[in-house]
């Protein structure tokens, strides 16, 4: 298909138009972010001039200073960072251990257990959030970070993704290591995990972004302002400060920036991981 393009004049014109259309669409896709940044750098007076000027008259950086003091932004930020890192590390560890067992070890009722785990892929979390909340609060973990972390640690997607990858590693590797007297723990930690860096990073990046952006679960599980995450803070901030657009947008930019950094650093893992979710098993 590609080879055909660019051979004839008509095709060249078509190709240029297509590229132009795509470029315009990409700007449309990014427009809300551009507007978000532009608004965060204005005073409200500048924003509501009529007709609206799309480029700020002067860069107004005060919003970025004030947002830290108007709301406990620093606290929200640290809470979110703590929870996202903790959940990512634990989830990757738990998923990779289970995935290793499913791929390479003997487990009683292995297939049945695997199918049972995988049914969770079809089951929306939203349909069990009410009883799950009730169980966690009966354990005395309502309004604690522990309760929120516990409900996020199991991931059928993570187990599936890593198992597929581990299955592709040659079993001779495990055999050889066993003959050399390696324990399964050592094989898993010293051989399998280092060989699976790409798959493990994919899962880690996915989990981290998901946790950073999570809204409904923290909304249910966390009450105290001191325990709140960025997404909860932003929502409350919006309700209280809808009139101060610049300040609100500065907060939104600051909450989004770390995800943009993660995305730019791990773009190839993102696309690989997404492409994998579309694969049939």
């Amino acid at each position: 298909m590609l080879n055909a393009l660019g051979t004839k004049r008509r095709d060249k014109v078509f190709y240029s138009l297509l590229l132009l259309a795509l470029a315009v669409c990409s700007i449309a896709a990014l427009f809300p972010f551009l507007w978000m940044i532009s608004t965060s750098l204005r005073t409200d007076v500048d924003l509501f001039r009529n007709p609206m000027n799309w480029i700020p008259n002067s860069l107004y950086l005060n919003n970025y200073k004030e947002v830290w003091t108007t709301i406990p932004f620093g606290r929200y930020f640290l809470n979110t960072l703590k929870l996202s890192v903790l959940i990512t590390v634990l989830q990757v560890l738990i998923c990779s251990m289970a995935a290793y067992a499913f791929a390479k070890l003997k487990v009683p009722f292995k297939n049945a257990l695997f199918i049972l785990f995988m049914t969770n892929l079809m089951m929306p979390w939203h349909s069990i959030m009410v009883p799950q909340f009730s169980i966690v609060s009966k354990l005395g973990l309502y309004n604690t970070h522990t309760g929120y972390v516990l409900v996020q640690l199991f991931s059928a997607f993570g187990i599936f993704l890593l198992r597929q990858f581990f299955l592709s590693l040659p079993s001779e590797l495990n055999e050889a290591a066993r003959v050399d007297g390696f324990s399964e723990w050592r094989i898993y930690w010293r051989i399998v995990m280092p060989l699976s860096k790409a798959a493990v990073s994919t899962l880690a990046i996915f989990t981290f972004t998901f946790m950073w952006n999570d809204y409904l679960a923290p909304l249910i599980y966390i009450q105290d302002d001191g325990l709140k995450t960025l997404q909860l803070g932003l929502k409350a901030f919006q309700t209280e400060h809808t009139t101060d657009y610049g300040l609100l947008m500065a907060g939104t930019v600051l909450a989004t920036a770390p995800m943009v950094a993660v995305f730019l650093a791990g773009e190839r893992f993102f696309t690989k991981g997404v492409a994998t979710t579309g694969m049939k098993n």
């Binding site: 809300p32 003997k106 049972l116 952006n213 409904l216 694969m279």
Partner: protein, 295 residues
Amino acid sequence: MNRRLQPLKAYATGTLFILPALVLFAAFIFIPLLYGLFMSFTDYGGFNLKPNFTGLDNYKKLLQDDYFAVSLKNNLVYTLLFVPLTAAFALFSAMALNAVLHLRRYLRMAFYFPQITSMVSVAIVWGLLLNPIRGPVNQVLKALGISHPPEWLMSSQWALIAVVIVAVWKSFGYYMIILLAGIQGIPEYLYESAKLDGAGAFKRFLYVTLPSLSPTLFMVLVLTVINSFQVFDLVSVMTDGGPGRSTNVLVFRIYQEAFIHYRMGYAAAMSAVLFLIIMVVSIVQFRLEKKWVTY
């Protein structure tokens, strides 16, 4: 060590590796699933209240609950708009991206970008963009000569449509990448032979791309339908279910019943309906798969 104990030890090691996942699965997914079913037959009010068994009362009440019916209807409208729009945008952008050599990496990143940001920030930004008086969207529409542009989130007619627009904008890049991977997996010789047979671009799309892509496209449809029944964040931040009840969807209704009114038993019955809907949709779609997906 005793040779006969060797296989037992292997099983023990394997079980230990799975144990953390198994315990978490049992405690926070499997037991809640069963407990939720039980809850749906009670008047449980949350926290330390004692649940009373009320039989099918919650389900009977659901059938007459017009608020629930409205949220179900809204959710269906959302699904009927969101699924085809997202799939169409994803398919066409994937096709277009596959056809260009320049800027490909940038374009892929630009279209995927909304996906990595949080629903909350996206909802806040779009809420301001769609502000009827001050928002840039209506300013542009007015500049284009539309004297009375929609009031978007303030109007009960347009609010749900506005939510769909934002949801499609946010999600299509994800499905685009899935479809792009699918398109790139179609063997080149199929196109070559179609061309030798004199098939034009449209025919090649119809007879080569679509059939070869049908398993991936099918997957995308299943995923978008399931996702559409889980919409919550956008509604919660952009409209809070309003104006009136116009954007109240299933999960939002469950959330309100359970965590605002503390009618958890009733909310559990709604959750069971949500569970059932998704199961039925999945089963029907997998049945249909055999009919129209060609491998």
